[in-house]
Amino acid sequence: MPVSNKTAAPLQVVAETYRLRLYVAGQTPKSILALKNLKHICEQHLQGRYEIEMIDLFLNPQLAAGDQILAVPTLVRRLPEPIKKIIGDLSNTDRVLVGLDLRARE
């Protein structure tokens, strides 16, 4: 879905670095798609001020409880606070932007 820059009203005036964590469970089509979608959105809206950390719960199961992960893929915005969570393959860009507070909830 194409994103028009006119409707994207950034809420954060200060250009903070976004620290994002993407939880997946194995290299599934869903997790690959989620990462692809996430990278695309970040390049579009957070260029130069984001970090993506990917965690495969099959390799690090003990990390699931800390961020209260149930669903995968789950994207967690660790910074800026407060922590935000977006679950799913991130295929709806508008909702991801809303979830990351990059666009006001309508």
Partner: protein, 504 residues
């Protein structure tokens, strides 16, 4: 790894008559009802309304597994926080911290806040599986409790994904070979609010907390137990500081000891009527009669005799206060106060309407456990009948009497009969539990009030069949021997064979 991995549902021809292996809950009564416990290696659904005790029952299953059966457990809780769980379990007498430290219990607190979560696109609940798997491996769990997983319906928007994932989860639990308990909220017109019974179909236990006439009673019913026999009735159960317990009346094994030694009734003439030696120790004696026939006096003799032997005596009063009883008995020459002072006699006076049956039973159990009496008196047991339905009262008394017999406590229950004709109706419910049944009767003959007493039944002894006249004097009950009977009115009312009540 082993045959448990095979989904039994997919295997149509299991050996005929072979019962499932079971995982004992350690909950007294429940294991009897279910003939050994929950289906091993399968999920069981425990459903009930708020406050019905489903979480406590699930936690007991886990804690008993870890403590009694060397089966470590995993608790995945979707509702409470660590502190609440700890205090819940502590209220049952378990120490979660110690269990966790001993690697016998793993707890995972799952929190889902719908407002914090945005959903976009496809997902699954593999994270939940990962966490559960991790917890199971960390302690080598054999038991798993999910309490209450349907909370996820409030946390996640996509019902379709959730349902298919729950189906997968329960299948996965079976594959792991763990015995799982899933709690769920009771739904309207359905067992559970979100239809979980559709996914967990091996065993379903329904808990109920009813308030009837402002009195609360907890009940349990095994709705379903695939591949196993089970009791189908509703069973009352209790939650107290000792945990959960229930009385499966119909499946109760009768295995009380039958001591041969005897205890005096406190009245020589009555002992004589009971083949000369009085009651059997550990037996249960019912004394019934209309108002003012001397039931409490008979009990007072029994209490005094016990105290004289140096035995501890516990007395539950549901009508009089201890002070009233002491005063009244002093008037007939029985002074019980010194025994109270000496610590041999203890009273528990309670208005029957004050608590539900369940609570009465609990209180009485605790009193018995604390005081460890040799003799117990309930005066009058009929006042408890106002508290619940007949069936409930019977179940409760059965349980109480069962407990007293197990502890080898000789018990006397007095029963107030509304009238002579009512004897069968009001008392047959409990009479079969009684070893000895004494009946007190009055009549008026030629302007003279007579008091009589007879032994309606007394198991295991040759007892008198005579209706004896007695007087209540300032020296206590004075039962006349036939020879002492005044010539004009026979002191002995012959009890006609076969004409009266059949002695059971």
């Amino acid at each position: 790894m082993d045959t448990r991995k095979i989904d039994v549902e997919a295997v149509p021809s299991r050996a005929r008559g072979a019962e499932l292996t079971k995982a004992a809950t350690g909950i007294r009564g429940l294991d009897e009802i279910t003939r050994g416990g929950l289906p091993r290696g399968r999920p069981t659904l425990i459903c009930g309304g708020a406050g019905s005790g489903k979480t406590l029952m699930a936690l007991t299953f886990l804690a008993n597994g870890a403590l009694l059966f060397d089966e470590p457990g995993v608790l995945m809780t979707f509702e409470e926080n660590a502190e609440e769980i700890r205090s819940d379990v502590a209220s049952l007498g378990f120490d979660t911290d110690a269990l966790v430290a001993a690697n016998k219990l793993a707890i995972d607190y799952v929190r889902v806040e719908r407002s914090e979560i945005e959903e976009t696109g496809e997902y699954d609940l593999e994270g939940l599986f990962v966490r559960l798997d991790y917890a199971i491996r960390s302690v080598g769990a054999k038991r798993v409790v999910l309490d209450t997983i349907e909370t996820l319906f409030a946390g996640l928007r996509n019902d379709g994904i959730l349902r298919s994932e729950l189906r997968r989860l329960f299948r996965w639990l079976k594959e792991q070979g763990v015995t799982a308990v899933i709690t769920a909220e009771r739904g309207e017109g359905a067992l559970t609010r979100h239809g979980l019974e559709e996914y967990v179909s091996d065993a379903v236990i329904l808990l109920d907390h009813r308030v009837c006439d402002q009195v609360s009673t907890r009940r349990l019913r095994v709705v379903k137990y695939r591949g196993s026999h089970h009791g189908t009735n509703e069973y009352p159960f209790l939650i107290n500081r000792d945990g959960i317990s229930m009385l499966p009346v119909s499946s109760m094994a009768l295995e009380h000891r039958a001591p041969l030694d005897r205890v005096s009734s406190g009245i020589d003439a009555l002992d004589d009527m009971l083949s000369g030696k009085g009651y059997y120790r550990g037996s249960t004696v019912l004394v019934s009669g209309m108002a003012g026939t001397g039931k409490t006096s008979l009990a007072a003799h029994f209490i005094e005799a016990a105290c004289r032997r140096g035995e501890r005596c516990l007395c539950f009063l549901f009508e009089e206060s201890p002070a009233q009883l002491l005063r009244n008995m002093r008037s007939i020459g029985i002074d019980l106060e010194p025994w109270v002072t000496a610590g041999l006699l203890q009273f528990h006076a309670e208005r029957p309407s004050r608590y539900g049956l369940e609570t009465h039973l609990v209180t009485m159990h605790h009193a018995v456990a604390d005081f460890k009496p040799a003799v117990a008196v309930i005066d009058p047991v009929t006042n408890l009948m106002t508290v619940g339905t007949f069936a409930d009262v019977q179940a409760m008394l059965t349980r109480m009497i069962d407990h007293l017999k197990t502890e080898n406590i000789t018990a006397m229950l007095t029963s107030l009969m509304p009238g002579l004709t009512a004897i069968e109706r009001t008392e047959t419910t409990i009479s079969s539990l009684m070893d000895t049944w004494l009946v007190l009767a009055n009549d008026d003959v030629r302007g003279r009030h007579r008091r009589g007493l007879y032994v309606l039944k007394s198991r295991g002894m040759a007892h008198s069949n005579e209706l004896r006249e007695f007087a209540i004097t300032d020296g206590g009950m004075n039962i006349r021997y036939p020879a002492e009977a005044p010539a004009n009115s026979p002191g002995v009312w012959r009890f006609e064979e076969g004409a009266g009540h059949a002695s059971l």
